[in-house]
């Protein structure tokens, strides 16, 4: 069994520059690499195709294309895509839509660094 030596690559898409920074601060010290960032769903779809990250962390409410629509488009083309949706809104309707879009995880803001790291580990290293 070969051990992975390269860090897992994560694409972060959110219209808030603060969230880009917060996710980076949480995950880079934990050994993950932020391979790209985006500000809306359209950029998420384009960047996913280019970068093929191990994980996409994406906001739901974004300009031009929202996260749920972007997640649907990405999972159609890349069924193996691992996507975590983040949102400040977590009511039942939104959670339902998120589930239907094919994402693997839904997290609500705010998150502590530790919470985010644990959730990412669960998605990327389910057996660890």
């Amino acid at each position: 069994m070969s051990l992975r030596t390269e860090p897992y690559r994560i694409l972060v898409v959110d219209d808030s520059p603060f969230i880009h920074k917060a996710v980076q601060k949480a995950l880079v010290p934990a050994g993950y690499e932020i391979c790209g960032t985006g500000r809306n769903g359209k950029e998420a779809v384009a960047a996913y195709g280019d970068l093929k990250p191990d994980l996409l962390i994406m906001d739901i409410t974004m300009p031009i294309m929202d996260g749920i629509t972007a997640a649907r488009e990405i999972t159609i083309e890349f069924p193996e895509a691992v996507i975590m949706l983040l949102s400040a809104m977590g009511d039942e309707e939104i959670r339902g839509q998120a589930q239907e879009s094919g994402v693997k995880s839904f997290a609500t803001k705010p998150f502590t660094n530790q919470e985010l790291v644990v959730e990412v580990q669960k998605l990327l290293c389910p057996r660890s």
């Binding site: 500000r39 809306n40 409410t61 300009p63 031009i64």
Partner: protein
């Protein structure tokens, strides 16, 4: 997005004509160069559902008083009192309402108008896509700023 701002500007010009301010001219459409607001009065209406964002009207206090005065049948207004503020908010509400009526097949919800007054104001609509235009009225400049998620 320019289409939407054009519609708001057209509705505003139409409303200005209706209340007696003929000869308003809408300027060019551009991305704001900075976040500083050159006027002291802002009226903001939030948009949700099919169009999500904010439409912001800004103007000098004198322009508010003139518009309010005309809306109240020529009553003399010497300060930005409750009546003047109320009239201005109603004016903006009507402009936005008329505009939204023209967006057929688009379900848009709006918030009530909020008026903010201040000095040395900075305004950030919290959105990447922001467009602005000016309407030159006989009573002063009206700046319209539209920030939208598409």
């Amino acid at each position: 997005m320019k289409n939407y701002l054009e519609s708001f500007a057209k509705a505003t010009s139409g409303m200005l004509s209706q209340i007696g301010a003929e000869g308003s001219e809408t300027g060019e459409y551009s991305i704001p160069e900075d976040i500083f607001c050159k006027h002291e009065v802002i009226v903001i209406i939030g948009l949700t559902q099919a169009l999500r964002g904010s439409i912001v009207f800004s103007m000098a206090p004198g322009t508010v008083m003139n518009i309010a005065s005309t809306m109240m049948g020529g009553m003399t207004i010497v300060e930005l009192d409750d009546m003047a503020r109320s009239a201005m908010c109603e004016f903006v509400n009507m402009c936005v309402g008329v505009c939204l009526t023209s967006f057929q097949d688009l379900e848009v919800d709006i918030t009530p108008p909020t008026m903010v007054m201040g000095e040395k104001m900075i305004l950030m609509l919290g959105l990447d896509k922001v467009l602005l235009t000016h309407i030159a009225t006989p009573w002063g400049d009206l700046e319209l700023r539209l920030g939208m998620e598409q």
